[in-house]
């Protein structure tokens, strides 16, 4: 059997409602300080009523921090992404322009430039003031701007598969290194809040009118959030050659389709089950090897039931189910960024040997009998599963393993 190349995570960057930078995010998780509040930054009819995980930094300030001239059109998702990606490259100690290696960027987004499009939708037709934003609408545009800023030119692409997007981007990065296509890759995702997504989830009647309650029997919907997070992946050998200690290893991944309904998951979480199973197979691990599951846990009636059922199917029973939690009560559901921000949290769990709490939980889902970890818990963690499930039945799982010194 050919042993696949070990994939090292050598850098990460993150921006969310609970912090600017990986360290701030970690602090908030450890102190149970969530970032969910009535919407105040985004201009929407639902301001003050619906709760979301907003990053309370205006676009002007993002431009300043990044040193981008205000005349250049950058949508919010791209600005957030650039901050996160730069942090990832800094912690990895890499400048793609000078490495002489084949470096790629695989990004993910669902909003793309929609925050600008929805704002200027009628304005474009009557005034030329914001015309520079017209080209920014497509999802792929953000990745290209990012790549240019970061000095990545060898390979650039964008994945958009709803809420599993960033997990799929991370997965592709590892697969491309293993296939000998890339030496190094920046992978992750970004989505800012938008009227489009807030109203969209509200129209599906799955936007909670209060704080989201992941895995709780009383749950009635999600809170959205905005975030950007990126990882740097390279082969373990490459990291070793430059004496870079990996933060963790990406040892497993899987993608499967529920093929049940456009938006709803099957009751027994078939897609989720298949994705988790694949991740374990790729990693060559058994269910007993998993110490923590960072669940998708959006707190919609449908997801948590389907995911919970799938967890029980794969791990056997509530007695053999490892510690699990959803961190979406901290950050909100960050859509295309979710897979990446939660990958960062999975790596943090490995680095610090902690399970992060699932906030707002009190009653287990009737009929499932499973309860998430509700307080910060120190435990021996060698392997973490991270789930991200999106519309269109797109189910993805990543498996991260500890990097021993």
């Amino acid at each position: 059997m050919i042993h696949p190349i070990p994939i090292a995570v050598t850098g990460m960057g993150a921006l969310s409602a609970i912090g600017c930078g990986v360290a701030e995010n970690f602090q908030s998780l450890v102190l149970s300080q969530h970032g969910i509040a009535p919407i105040r930054r985004l201009d929407t009819h639902h301001q003050g009523r619906l709760l979301a995980g907003e990053i309370l930094i205006e676009n002007d300030e993002l431009y300043d921090r990044l040193g981008i001239p205000p005349s250049e059109a950058y949508t919010r998702s791209t600005l957030l992404a650039l901050l996160a990606a730069r942090e990832a490259l800094d912690t990895a100690g890499i400048d793609p322009r000078y490495s002489g290696l084949r470096t790629g960027l695989i990004s993910a987004t669902t909003v793309g430039g929609m925050d600008a499009t929805e704002r200027y939708y009628d304005d474009y037709l009557v005034s030329d003031k914001h015309w520079s934003f017209i080209p920014t609408h497509p999802c792929g545009y953000a990745a290209e701007q990012l790549a240019r800023q970061l000095g990545i030119s060898h390979f650039v692409t964008t994945i958009s598969t709803a809420c599993s997007s960033a997990a799929n981007a991370i997965m592709l990065g590892a697969r491309m290194i293993r296939a000998g296509q890339l030496d190094r890759v920046v992978v992750g995702g970004t989505d800012c809040l938008s009227q489009f997504t807030i109203n969209g989830f509200n129209s599906l009647m799955i936007y909670s009118d209060g704080h989201c309650l992941p895995f709780d029997d009383r749950r009635n919907g999600l809170n959205l959030g905005e975030a950007a997070a990126y990882l740097v992946l390279e082969s373990a050998e490459l990291a070793r050659q430059r004496s870079k200690t990996p933060l963790a290893y990406l040892t497993g991944y899987g993608n499967a389709n529920d093929a049940f309904h456009q938006t709803a998951s099957s009751d027994n979480g078939e897609g989720a089950y298949l994705a988790m199973k694949q991740a374990l197979e790729v990693a060559g691990l058994r269910t007993a090897d998993i110490d923590y599951i960072n669940a998708h846990g959006t707190a919609t009636p449908n997801n948590d039931l389907a995911e919970g059922s799938a967890l029980l199917r794969i791990f056997g029973s509530s007695g053999t189910l490892p510690a699990f939690s959803s961190t979406k009560a901290f950050t909100g559901h960050t859509l295309a960024a979710a897979g990446a921000i939660e990958a960062v949290y999975s790596v943090l769990a490995l680095q610090h040997q902690v399970v992060f709490p699932n906030l707002n939980f009190s009653e287990p889902i009737a009929g499932l009998g499973i309860a998430p970890q509700t307080s910060l818990r120190t435990k021996k963690i060698n392997h973490v599963l991270s789930n991200s499930f999106g519309f269109g039945g797109n189910c993805s799982t990543l498996l991260f393993s500890i990097a021993h010194d």
């Binding site: 929609m114 939708y121 017209i134 792929g140 545009y141 958009s160 296509q181 999106g390 269109g392």
Partner: protein, 352 residues
């Protein structure tokens, strides 16, 4: 990538009657408008009414083309669905934005929101084919399809006995077309077939369409052809070097190519890139176009692939597509090179 991808079936919906069996551009439908919507086949052939009712054009075209491809390949199931789309389900995106601008705070219809999700065509295919396998959508401007193709190649290396449904699809949007006009993307007084050559005006003829393929590592009984390699570059100062290096990496030089398909689209600002590539690398072989009859959209390169396989299979180049009047004794190996507005360069190598 050492192992070739065998293609066992294909399907194509576009502004020409490409969905008609055996059609190879003998007659070209002309248009004097911009944008140009794709011709609609009888979708009910493949899609029951209760499913069709909610489907946007991307989904309908994708399913139709996929079913044609599967039929030709003589299979009913695949292991994975890998797609590309530059703009996703644009009309539903527009509809939802318009609804929310008119009515935010009131009850909004959820259907356009759901349908606007970029991976809905791939999702619809998974549902139609009951395929629980790998399902991916690339939304990366004019390299969206190429990313899907690259992923297909990697996937089949990982799963050598699998079969993949691979495709690209893009649809037009009314308001978005107005934005493109403002941004100067669209050609004025556009016609199909588009005039190509030295003195063309600025702008593209915007269109829509799809092409889907059944791919595997097994040669099978009657493959349409093989895809050997694909590469993309967002930007390059030297497309000739990009293509030459690509060929070299695949153990070839330009003299070993029998025909080249170029993405010349009549945009006077960028077509010189194709002419330079054509004259410096491929001066003595047939140069074939496709965008002058199919229009321009992010994933139109998937239809170039469709055209390439038809040419390889039938061993002839339709006059309507031939740009330089040259013929070739053999048609074994074809290179497809395309870019859009000076970026998103890609090169694909196919063989009989």
């Amino acid at each position: 990538m050492t192992k070739p991808l065998y293609i066992h079936g294909s399907g194509c919906v576009s502004i020409q009657p490409t969905f008609e069996p055996g059609y190879l551009f003998e007659t070209i439908q002309s248009y004097a408008q911009n944008p140009v919507p794709a011709l609609d086949p009888d979708y009910k052939t493949f899609i029951p009414a209760m499913q069709l009712r909610r489907m946007n054009k991307s989904m309908r075209m994708a399913i139709f083309a996929s079913k044609q491809a599967l039929q030709q390949a003589n299979i009913t199931a695949v292991d994975a669905v890998i797609t590309g789309s530059g703009l996703g389900c644009l009309r539903d995106s527009e509809r939802f934005v318009e609804n929310l601008r008119a009515d935010e705070g009131q009850s909004l219809n959820p259907t356009p929101f759901i349908q606007s999700t970029h991976n809905m065509a791939a999702a619809a295919l998974a549902l139609t084919l009951d395929c629980k396998g790998y399902n991916m959508t690339y939304v990366n401007n004019a390299n969206s399809f190429e990313s899907a193709l690259l992923d297909t190649m990697i996937y089949l290396m990982e799963h050598p006995s699998a079969t993949v449904l691979l495709g690209g699809v893009d649809e037009l949007g009314e308001r978005t077309t107005q934005f493109w006009n403002i941004a100067g993307y669209l050609k004025k007084d556009a016609v199909i077939p588009t005039a190509l050559g030295e003195d063309t005006t600025a702008g593209e003829v915007a269109a829509e369409g799809t092409a889907f393929f059944v791919a595997s590592h097994q040669p099978g009984a009657h493959p349409l052809g093989k895809i050997l390699a694909v590469e993309t570059r967002v930007e390059t100062d030297n497309p000739e070097a990009f293509i030459r290096d690509f060929l070299q990496r695949n153990g070839l030089d330009t003299t070993e190519v029998d025909a080249v398909i170029l993405g010349e689209n009549g945009d006077g600002r960028y077509d010189n890139i194709y002419r330079t590539v054509g004259s410096s690398l491929f001066a003595n072989i047939p140069q074939i176009g496709f965008k002058h009859v199919l229009g321009e959209y992010d994933t139109v390169v998937s239809t170039a692939l469709f055209v390439a396989f038809e040419i390889l299979r039938q061993q002839r180049i339709p006059q309507s597509l031939l740009l330089n009047g040259l013929t070739s004794r053999t048609l074994q190996r074809i290179v497809i090179y395309t870019q859009r507005r000076g970026t998103n360069h890609s090169v694909i190598l196919v063989e009989r």
